[in-house]
């Protein structure tokens, strides 16, 4: 068990040099590495499922007049890829990118702007155009309701019940 301190030299010579001349050489990385995410603009419907799942609040859905913006802030991202797990349309893809340092913080923001659909009755915005289209194609039976905001939808539903059964209390 007892060893000569000099045997370190044998160990060292048999192992050679293990450090890399990074960044001039390829970084040590496996195929499984989780890096930054990429959101496919053509697929995203702006539903916010990823925003609800994101543990560090790196993904946010911001509303402003007529648009809904999905904002990805890399500075907060913990690269857990939970958003990828929960995205209903498979719009988020993981990459192996990790060299993300920058001297300009705006490089760390990625914005995806969605147009907002307006309620066909009261004209108030309620969801992204793409969600409306997504719901309409997925379940065509919602056709009569999907173009309204929740409040108008509710009213229409109550009216429909009234028409058919003569009121909710019946």
């Amino acid at each position: 068990m007892k060893k000569n301190p000099l045997s370190l030299l044998t160990i060292a010579s048999s192992k050679g040099r293990v450090t890399k001349r990074y960044p001039f050489e390829e970084p040590l990385m496996t195929s499984e590495f989780r890096g930054k995410i990429e959101i496919d603009e053509s697929k995203c419907i702006g539903c916010g499922a990823c925003v609800n799942a994101c543990p560090p609040n790196a993904l946010e859905l911001l509303s402003s007049s007529g648009t809904k913006t999905l904002r990805y802030f890399i500075g907060r991202c913990i690269y857990c890829w939970r958003c990828i797990d929960v995205c209903p349309v498979g719009a988020i893809k993981g990459t192996r990118e990790f060299e993300l340092a920058t001297d300009d913080v705006s490089d760390l923001y990625e914005l995806l702007i969605h147009e907002e659909a307006k309620c066909s009755v009261c004209n108030s915005p309620y969801a992204t155009v793409r969600i409306v289209r997504y719901v309409a194609t997925r379940s065509p039976s919602t056709e009569g309701y999907v173009s309204m905001d929740p409040k108008c939808r509710q009213e229409k539903f109550v009216k429909a019940i009234e028409m058919r059964f003569g009121g909710l209390s019946a």
Binding site: P5, L6, L8, L9, A12, K15, G16, R17, V18, T19, K20, R21
Partner: protein, 291 residues
């Protein structure tokens, strides 16, 4: 002799420049033993250049540090010149002077942190003091004996065991004086002591680091000079041999310090006293017996 001054200048120039590169070699070699690529050989030069480009920052409440640092540097250069001259010209007086100067340099080296009022560097320096008191005494005794056995700095007619013992003890003394593990106590316990250099920065740190390298070279040069005196004798060959010995010792010390750990402040002096007294006693006995 007309070539004397030329010889001394060449020797001095190499001792003033070599240490920065030898330190680079030390770092590279250490890295190799630790399976790393390590910095380039001229890294120490780059470090020093960078330090000298920075603004001058003095430790709190102290101008003394600055004066001391420059005394430290200039005395080191004087000591090196006189030791170079001693082996080139065969002057045992100059050799004696250079060793005494080395002791003074060591003392300044230890005193400097005390001017900073930083408890951590003072802890580091007090520890260095304990080791230096023992090691410097051993150095002076050993060098005294060296002068006694070879006062003319020329090869003896026959080799005695005293010479081997003498070189061996000088090796040990110079190894300890070069501040390497296991005797790098001043820089030990990184989280408490943080080394005695902690209060210095910028050009001041540059001066101190550079002079430390000179001091490290000087303690090895002494071994080389005694060895040259015993083998080739003084003159250009002697100077060359001492410089080669200094370089080789630097490499050997690097390897030795990489494969051991650090001692502790209460244990190190005990082991040192034991080693030194054993060797010096043996030296004196063999010298008196003439074997």
């Amino acid at each position: 002799m007309t070539y004397g001054p030329v010889l001394v200048s060449i020797g001095l120039a190499s001792v003033l420049t070599l240490p920065t590169l030898l330190d680079g070699v030390e770092r590279k070699l250490k890295a190799a033993i630790q399976s790393r690529i390590g910095p380039p050989i001229h890294q120490t030069l780059l470090d020093l250049t960078k330090l000298f480009r920075k603004e001058l920052v003095l430790p709190r409440e102290s101008m003394h540090t600055l004066y001391m640092a420059f005394t430290y540097l200039s005395l080191s250069i004087v000591a090196i010149s006189s030791s170079i001259a001693s082996i080139a010209l065969g002057s045992i007086e100059l050799f004696t002077a250079s060793v005494i100067l080395l002791s003074i340099i060591q003392a300044i080296h230890i005193a400097m942190p005390f001017t900073t009022y930083n408890p951590f560097s003072i802890v580091g320096a007090s520890r260095e003091l304990v080791l230096a008191v023992i090691n410097e005494s051993a150095l002076l005794i050993t060098v005294g004996l060296a002068i006694l056995v070879n006062p003319l700095m020329s090869p003896p007619s026959s080799w005695r065991s005293t010479y081997f013992l003498l070189l061996l003890e000088l090796l040990i003394v110079s190894y300890i004086a070069s501040g390497r593990t296991p005797y790098d106590i001043a820089e030990a316990e990184p989280e408490i002591a943080s080394g005695w250099l902690i209060e210095f920065s910028g050009p001041l740190l540059g001066v101190i680091i550079y002079t430390n390298l000179l001091r490290k070279a000087m303690v090895k040069l002494i071994v080389g000079i005694v060895l040259a005196g015993l083998t080739t004798g003084y003159g250009s060959m002697g100077l060359l041999l001492s410089l080669i010995a200094m370089t080789l010792l630097w490499v050997a010390y690097t390897v030795a310090s990489t494969i051991v750990g650090r001692s502790r402040v209460d244990v190190a002096p005990k082991t040192m006293i034991f080693i030194h007294t054993t060797f010096i006693t043996l030296l004196i006995v063999t010298h008196v017996l003439g074997v």
